[in-house]
Each structure stands twice: as structure tokens, then as C-alpha cells.
Symmetry: C2
Subunit: 200 residues, 2 copies
């Protein structure tokens, strides 16, 4: 019996992966540590060898999500290295697409950190870096006279907040059907960006 007594090499990452899968199949409400353990093929207490509690696993899943988002933003910035406006347009498009494609991971990314902020340094660091990419795009746009001058950090909060707000309202089903029947979330975000950008 017992083909493999223990799990294979890397249970920690297997648990994160299992968590992401459960999230995409059953949603936030279906995410339990015991289910994650079962899906990874270990006992319900095995995760505690790698995560001190459930919050820590959630922080790891969120960190993974921010890593992916950060990579996508980096790709957009590299692809349009000489075109700040396209960086802004395609960056926001990537953000919206990420939220749509990973609804529940996205929701968890923005609802877990709060509890104990500084306890998950990897999470804090990657979310800081992701924000820094937004600031980079904003600075490039300001240099190209595409965004108003002024504090790039404050402008980045405004841009990010605008995109994040519309996406969040859409994910929570708060946007009126009379609007959503006519415009996709991507369209709404595009309209919003056109309001912020100079010269239309």
C-alpha cells in the first residue's frame, strides 16, 4: 500500500494551485483549507506544515495573482515601449481582462490583505511593484502630454481607482442592465480613460 507515503516535492505550491482551482470552480465561498488539502492529496492538517493558518494560504494565492498581473503589465509596457498611450490603453485592458478571467482570485486579492497588513511581506512587495508599474505608465504619459502634470503617484491612484472601481462594480453585479446591455465592461473602462486623457 501507500504508493507514496508523503506528497511529492513541493506541497506548498501544490496547495496554492489547488486553491486557485477551487476558487475558479466553486468561488470564494467554496474555498476551505480542508478541500484544498484533499485536492492536493494530503490530510486536512498537512497544510499547517507550510502555512500557519488559512489567511496565509489566501495571502499566497493573492500574491500569485499579483505576480501574474504584474507580469502582464510588464509585457504590455515592453511591447509598447515607445507608445505611452498604448501602454495606458493596453494596460487597463489587461487589468480588466485579468479580473474577468479570474473573478474569484481577483476578488480575494482585494479582500484579504486588510486584516493584517504587514504580516505578508511577499504580498505587500508585489502589490507595491504592481502599483509602481502603473506609476511608470503615468509618468510616460505625462511626459508625452497625454496625462495632466502633477504628482504621478496621485494620478496613478486616480487611474487605477477608476479602472478598479468600474471592474469591481461590474463583478458585484452593481452596474445597471440598461448600461451593460449596450456596453461591455471593457468599453466602459475605455470611455472612462478617454475622460482622463488629454486631447480626447
Amino acid at each position: 500500500m501507500s504508493p507514496k507515503k508523503y506528497h511529492h516535492g513541493d506541497l506548498k505550491n501544490a496547495l496554492i494551485k489547488a486553491g486557485v482551482e477551487i476558487l475558479s470552480k466553486e468561488g470564494v465561498g467554496g474555498l476551505s483549507l480542508r478541500k484544498v488539502a484533499q485536492r492536493a492529496g494530503v490530510s486536512h492538517s498537512a497544510p499547517y506544515a507550510h502555512f500557519p493558518d488559512k489567511q496565509s494560504l489566501i495571502a499566497a494565492i493573492s500574491t500569485e495573482g499579483f505576480n501574474q498581473l504584474h507580469n502582464e503589465l510588464n509585457a504590455v509596457i515592453a511591447k509598447y515601449a515607445n507608445d505611452p498611450k498604448q501602454q495606458l490603453v493596453e494596460g487597463t485592458r489587461a487589468y480588466v481582462q485579468f479580473a474577468i478571467d479570474h473573478k474569484d482570485t481577483f476578488k480575494i486579492m482585494f479582500s484579504s490583505a486588510l486584516e493584517k497588513e504587514k504580516e505578508y511581506p511577499a504580498f505587500v512587495e508585489i502589490s507595491r511593484q504592481t502599483f509602481a508599474r502603473v506609476v511608470d505608465i503615468v509618468k510616460a504619459c505625462q511626459s508625452a502630454k497625454i496625462l495632466k502634470p502633477g504628482s504621478p503617484e496621485v494620478t496613478a491612484v486616480i487611474v487605477w481607482g477608476q479602472v478598479h472601481g468600474i471592474v469591481s462594480l461590474a463583478l458585484e453585479g452593481q452596474i445597471s442592465h440598461t448600461v451593460l446591455d449596450q456596453h461591455s465592461v471593457q468599453d466602459l473602462v475605455t470611455f472612462a480613460m478617454e475622460q482622463l486623457v488629454l486631447y480626447g
Copy 2:
């Protein structure tokens, strides 16, 4: 014994009130049906006489939150009946203040509806009405040439999304300290509104 065998007149509202109190004292994580029942002075199964499940109680709490927010928006609209710009400024200020004053109720208002959208008609109705107030303000601002012309509903989604996004990021601790050390959330929202409003 048994000074009052049952609860007094209105257990349903007592449960909602107890839920709001727990929310403000222990946060979203501390909200359980059993604690709500205990705080209202009834057995853990008594709530099921008034709410089919926990989601329903949460929907009722959220509905109550939207009612309060709606009332505050109405008060602002009435107070500045002839001044659309002040309606916009004070309306957003009221929204931000509500979120800050009732952090956890605010969070629950925008994280519960999703599951089963049409199952809570009172919730859908009051959130629809609240959005309608935003549309009213937008229309008044457009007539006064304070906001760009175009679909008032789409513009309302942009305005609401901008405010909601910055507030949400702030509540989740996602706004960089280098920004928050210098500007309050109210300030950031004000800056954002100035970008959307015509003539600065």
C-alpha cells in the same frame, strides 16, 4: 421564570441591528448567524423563522446600508437643489464618509449581491434607486455644463466607479503610504472629481 418567553415585537429588525453591531465591532470575519442570534437574545435557530439562510440576513443588512446611503444622497440633493456642482462634490463626500464610517457594512454591501442576484428584490430595488440618484446628479451637472454631454447612465457609472474604486482600494490598504501620508481619501477623491469636471 422566563420573563419573556419570546423575543419582543420585532425580532427580524433586532437581528439586522445585531448584525450591524457585530460587523462594526468584530468585522466581516466575526459575523456569524449564531452570534447574531445570541446578541438578539434568542436561540441559534430562531433567525430561521425570519431569514431562510445567512445570505438572506446579509442581504437585509446590505439593504439597510443602501437605504442609509440613499437617504444621505437625497439630503445632499435637496440641500443643494440649485447647485449641481455642490451636489456632485457633497454627494461624493457623503459616499466616502459612509464607507469610512461603516467600513464593514460597506464591504458587505458590495460583496454579497453577486451570489444570487435576483433573489433579494428589496436589495436590488434600493441599489437601483441609489444609482438613479447618481444619474440625477449627473444629468443636473450636464445641464449646467459641469460634466460632458453623453449618456447620463454611462457617465454615472464612470463617476461612481471613480469614487468607489479609490474608496475600495483605500479600505483594502492598497494605496501607497507615500500617497496616503500626504492626502486623505477625501482629498484623493476630490482630485479625481476635478479631473472629470469641466473648467477645473
